[in-house]
Symmetry: C2
Subunit: 412 residues, 2 copies
Amino acid sequence: MPLFDVPEDDLFGPHNLPYGVFSPAGSAERTVGVRLGDHVLDAGAAALALGSPYAELLARPSLNPLLAAGRTAWSDVRRALTAWVTVPSHRETLAPLVHPLDSVTLHLPFEVADYVDFYASENHARNVGRIFRPDAADSLTPNWKHLPIGYHGRSGTVVVSGTDVVRPGGQRTAPAGAAPVFGPSARLDIEAEVGFVVGVPSAMGTPVPLSGFRDHVFGLCLLNDWSARDIQAWEYVPLGPFLGKSFATSVSAWITPLDALDEARVAPPGRTHPLLPYLDDADEEPGGYDLRISVALNGHVVSEPPFSTMYWTAAQQLAHMTVNGASLRTGDLYGSGTVSGPAEHQRGSLLELTWNGRDALELPDGKRTYLEDGDVVTMTAWAPGAGGVRVGLGEVTGRVVAERVDAERLQD
Amino acid sequence: MPLFDVPEDDLFGPHNLPYGVFSPAGSAERTVGVRLGDHVLDAGAAALALGSPYAELLARPSLNPLLAAGRTAWSDVRRALTAWVTVPSHRETLAPLVHPLDSVTLHLPFEVADYVDFYASENHARNVGRIFRPDAADSLTPNWKHLPIGYHGRSGTVVVSGTDVVRPGGQRTAPAGAAPVFGPSARLDIEAEVGFVVGVPSAMGTPVPLSGFRDHVFGLCLLNDWSARDIQAWEYVPLGPFLGKSFATSVSAWITPLDALDEARVAPPGRTHPLLPYLDDADEEPGGYDLRISVALNGHVVSEPPFSTMYWTAAQQLAHMTVNGASLRTGDLYGSGTVSGPAEHQRGSLLELTWNGRDALELPDGKRTYLEDGDVVTMTAWAPGAGGVRVGLGEVTGRVVAERVDAERLQD
């Protein structure tokens, strides 16, 4: 099966074929690419070279036209690409259209319409509750088991993997509880998440049912919801997170189509509370995904969150997000919420891993509670595929850089 | 001065010239128009007819190119338009390019990038605090006087004035406090707000100071932040409003440039707490706007909120929104938050006007607590202009229509 020197057990073999947008070395032009091992196939050029009608979806500077094309087109294009990279007779035509991954520039693969972030891991929500509301009778808020809690984030600051993240400035409470102070965040954190990418729009006033998930959602990616805990803690009552999150959200450069993850579908955890009909997935196909995430800080793995433990599924999140009649647009992105498993080494944020700074992580290059300037955070993941071959997700990585602006200058 | 039969004291005379996007009768084509009395000048066609270089900004299907052009261009274009509609020699050329307002279709005038909603009226925030947290020592949260509280909303459901609003379905708590129930919102409300439209983008990692307000913000409009109070109350802890707001946000079809509102600038209310340098506007030009808003329900005025009472200014909101390094994009829209004055008849929401349904409004066509299907809400406003001539803002109106989908069908 494999062509182009991709080993049989490569995470990015022909069974995977995630989509991205790239510029070849020396060019500023953007076009759709498909990852194959540690190479990128220029998918638009391939379609043109082979006389494929899918050139109109692939020879484009963004994934949006493909996203908007819908499920039948998604399957047809994937089938065509699989043939192109596996049928030996295409090799001569396509070989010049394959670029080494490390020679190209990867871009944000689609234009983000609305960005929503959920809060769907019970382990994460309970940890956060225990840390911030230690005296509460229940670590979960009363609504948590009845609906997937979510909020809108800033789509204009969604950036592609590899983009530096400037440490945000902002207000935080003074230790004495007096007037707030201003300065660079001292509690800069990560959140390991999975992002879902909407392809097909929906009409305003018409909710999307659970069964509509695969008709509307094209694929998924890894997502790092960078969070400034000190800014967030001071600002978030009563209207939720704002500046503590809006400075940057990183997504992987590769969008894995749902069709590549059929073998990874699993039932979500047992439900402890009855669900309203629009969220009740007892009779639906399994809505969970068995994605094994790994979080590395400066190259050292600090957490391995299992996505299969998420209480709320992406299909439930989509049904909830639209049940009030809110419409979907091509390019809508929604994050799962921080993925945290039940074990300590499965927690998806430094807030939980260090218990809000109480227990520093011991790394080979020193202790860490929250992120320091220069730190590099990299998330990777894989899922089980057919025949025991793993399906890789594109990494999401980012380096923290010092705040550029002196707070005093802002008085101008 | 006035041409085209606009009376001297018209709210939309040549001193105003708000921008919109319209299609003439019988055409689906969109183009930029300027309102003049109860007529619309096809601004793009006018520029072409007069050989103006501004045709490239005006003969377009959206305001985005004009928004992105920046303050110098905004002033130049406005000066040119003022000449076109006031210099008699242009009348013969332009007369065929003027359409009766009631003959055209008005569209959403720009592509909304990110939408943020603030909470900047002290009267409103105190009323909400008293209604929902009657036992709290202070009706304001501790952060309220230190920063303009805000959150991101859904930009994909921002709609133009005149669009019907489908009553949202959703979860709310049962009266007994048991499991939530599902159904159409029983507490559908309005929020009278002013929306600010960003023209010029900013770079990620670089905050915009208070003094940058007029370089980045093009103009303003009226905004109705439709709100389902029952859905909101159940969902909003801990991450803020989501489905209680995301079903629809209406904006007026006309964007009033800041340049038309110079005479309306006023100092905001005295500050009761010292502000951090990036928000301290003591030495800035006056940041408030004296806009007199009127809210009518089925044609009867129910409230007259004065925008001059807002504690936080739009310039402070912009500085706060970007102080963490979040970037701006052309088309970003931010709402002021509900405008409520100190008097009872100045409250900008039914929540406050009826004290959460306790005191029904007595209208000629019956009592109202929250909105019923078929209700029409219309907001209008004016501001003082030069020489005592008032500057009108475009109205924002919307009719509530019944939920289209039977809740049971959602189980599919």
